[in-house]
Symmetry: C2
Subunit: 343 residues, 2 copies
C-alpha cells in the first residue's frame, strides 16, 4: 500500500511529521511507499536527524503551505502547490491509496471534496472520531468537517458511522443517538428535530436523542451531530481527561503518603491514561469522500502521526467506502419504495 503524508501541516511542522513517518515505516511493513509532500530540504534535514534512508520514502516537492489563518476553500483554490493539495492529488491520480494530514482541517476537507469528490449519494463528508469509554469505543460523527449541517447530512452521518462501527469496530447493530438538549423526543433545535425524524424512519438502530451526559456514562456506538458541536465535544473531552490527570498529579504530590499511594496504584492510572490518550488514536477518517483521507490532530506528536499512518493503513485494508455506498443506496431504495404509501 502507498500513503501520502502532508509533511508540512500541523502545529509543529516537519520535525514531528517526519519523526512519526520514520516510526511508522519501522513498525508497518505493509506500507510499501510513503510520499512525504512538502519542502525537500526541510524534509531531508529531518530524515538525516533520524539517520533514515528508507527506500520506501518518496519526497514530493511542493512550494506552498496552507496556514492555520487561511480560509479553507480559498486556500485550496489559490495555493495550487500546497502540500495538502499535492498530497490529495497523489490519491486522485491513483499514486497513493490514502492521504494523511495534521494541517488545516478545513483545507484537507475542501481539497478532498474538490479533488476526490464525495461518494455516490453522499452530500457532505464527515469526520469520524473514535472516543473510548469504560464500556465501548464510540464513533463521533461529524467531528468538524461540516459546520453548515442540514438534517439529511446528519442522517447520512448516522449511516456512515454505523457502517464504520460495524465493519471496522465490529459492533453488531451499533446503537445510534443524536446529540440534543434532552432525551425527550421533542427536545432540540430545528436541525436535530428534523434529523431525529429521518433517523427514526431509517433502518438504523436509532436510540433517539442523547445528551452530553450519556456520552461516557451510558454510551451508544454512533453519536451524530453537526461539525461545530462535534468538534467542541471532541476537544472538550480531550481537554478534561488531560486536565483531570494533571490536577490529580498536583494533588497527589501534596503529601508523601499520597505519593506512595499513587506509586502503588500507578498501573491503574496508566490503563486509563493510555486509553484516553488521543495519540493512541492518531487519526480520524474523513468518511464520505471517494478515497481515504485521515485527519490527524494539529498538535500531533510523532507517536500520534505514526498512529495516524496506522489508521490510514487499516483503512486501506478495511475499505469501508463500498459498504457506505451500498448502505446509502439501500436507504434511498427503501425510502423511495415507501414514498407512494405515504398519504
Amino acid at each position: 500500500m502507498k500513503i501520502a503524508l502532508d509533511a508540512m501541516g500541523g502545529d509543529f511542522g516537519p520535525p514531528n511529521l517526519v519523526a512519526g513517518a520514520v516510526m511508522a515505516l519501522r513498525d508497518y511493513q505493509q506500507i510499501k511507499k510513503l510520499y512525504l509532500v512538502g519542502d525537500p530540504p526541510k524534509i531531508e534535514n529531518e530524515l538525516r536527524k533520524h539517520q533514515c534512508n528508507d527506500s520506501r520514502i518518496d519526497i514530493v516537492h511542493s512550494t506552498q503551505v496552507v496556514e492555520m489563518s487561511d480560509r479553507a476553500w480559498t486556500a485550496v483554490r489559490r495555493k495550487k502547490d500546497s502540500s495538502i493539495s499535492r498530497a490529495v492529488d497523489l490519491v486522485k491520480r491513483g499514486d497513493a491509496d490514502a492521504v494523511v494530514s495534521a494541517g488545516h482541517t478545513g483545507a484537507a476537507v475542501a481539497a478532498s471534496m474538490i479533488k476526490l469528490r464525495t461518494l455516490e449519494g453522499i452530500y457532505r463528508p464527515g469526520i469520524a472520531a473514535l472516543l473510548p469509554t469504560q464500556f465501548n469505543v464510540f464513533v463521533l460523527i461529524d467531528a468538524g468537517a461540516n459546520i453548515d449541517a442540514r438534517p439529511e447530512h446528519l442522517l447520512q452521518y448516522g449511516i456512515m458511522g454505523s457502517v464504520y462501527s460495524s465493519h471496522v469496530l465490529r459492533y453488531k447493530r451499533p446503537r445510534v443517538g443524536v446529540i440534543s438538549l434532552g432525551e425527550e423526543d421533542v427536545k432540540g433545535n430545528e436541525l436535530t428535530k428534523e434529523a431525529f425524524k429521518m433517523l427514526k424512519e431509517s433502518s438504523l438502530n436509532f436510540r433517539g436523542n442523547i445528551e452530553g451526559r450519556h456520552l461516557f456514562e451510558d454510551p451508544v456506538e454512533v453519536v451524530v451531530c453537526d461539525g461545530f458541536v462535534g468538534n467542541v465535544i471532541l476537544k472538550t473531552s480531550e481537554s478534561i481527561a488531560v486536565a483531570i490527570f494533571k490536577w490529580l498529579r498536583q494533588e497527589l504530590t501534596r503529601s508523601k503518603i499520597h505519593m506512595v499511594g499513587a506509586y502503588l496504584a500507578r498501573k491503574a492510572f496508566r490503563v486509563i491514561k493510555d486509553k484516553t490518550n488521543y495519540e493512541e488514536y492518531g487519526g480520524m477518517p474523513l468518511l464520505g469522500v471517494n478515497g481515504i483521507c485521515i485527519i490527524a490532530h494539529g498538535a500531533s506528536t510523532p507517536l500520534a502521526i505514526k498512529n495516524a499512518l496506522r489508521v490510514a493503513a487499516e483503512s486501506i485494508e478495511q475499505q469501508v467506502n463500498p459498504h457506505i455506498v451500498e448502505e446509502i443506496r439501500r436507504y434511498h431504495e427503501t425510502t423511495a419504495s415507501l414514498e407512494p404509501a405515504v398519504p
Copy 2:
C-alpha cells in the same frame, strides 16, 4: 429574604426537592420564608418524613406540573397553574425575591421571560454555569436557555458573564473567550464570526476564539457560546469527570496493591471529586431576566437542591442585575458615540 421553590419539577420530584429545602432551612438562617410550590399532600408528606415543621415554610398550592416532554412555551401558556408558573408569579408579585427550579429548563426560562421580562436592554437571558478547573472557576454562558442565538445575544452574554465573574466571583477584568472551531480569528461559523467582531470592539477583556481544549487546560473566566453548544459542554464535562472517576475506581479494585495505593491517596481524589461535583454548585443563575431565577440540575440530589437555594440566597445578597443594566447601558452609549466616527 424569601425564596420560591418549584417543589414538583425535576427527575425525582418532591422527595429530593423537599429534602433539599429542609437541609437549606437548617443551614441558612438568612432565609426568612421558603415557598414550596406544588401539590400540598405530597409536599406535607415529605415534610413529615423529615419531621420538619419549620414556620418559615409556606406551601403554595398548584395543580399542574410541566412534564419533561412538554414544549416549553406552550406549557407555560397553557398550564397556567403549573408549579413553575406559580413559583415565578410569587417573584413577579414581589412575594419572593428569587425562584429555584429543577424542572423543565425551557419552561423555567419561558415563564421567567413572560412574567418577569428581560432586563432593560437585554434581548435574551442566558444560563450562567460555573465550571471549576485546576486554575480558576469560569462562567459558561449560555448553558441552555437560548438555542436560536444571534451575534448580539452572544455579545450580551459576554457582558453579563463578565459582570457575574467580577462582582460575584471577584475576578478583576475577567478574560472572555468565544467557543469556536479554532483559535485563529477567521475560524468559526457565521454566528461566532459576527459575535467575534462585536466582542472585539467592546470594552470587554476579549481574548478571541477558544477551543474546547482550552476550557480546562488554559481557561479564561468567561466562556461565551450559544445555548445548544453550552448545554453540550456542560453535560459532557459533568459526564467525563464522573466517568473517569468510576473507571478509575474499577481499575483500582483490580488488585490489592492498587487498593492500598488508592486508600493512601484517597484525600487527593476527594479534593478533585468534590470540586468537580455539580451538586456542590447546585444552581445556575438565569442572567438577564428582571428578577432572580436559579436553574438546578434535573437530576438534583437533596444536596444539590440545598446548594441551589444557597445560590439563590447569595444572588439576592449580591444583586448583579443593576450592574448588568449599567454595563449594557454603557455599552450602548459607547457604541452609539462611536458610530458617527465610522466611515
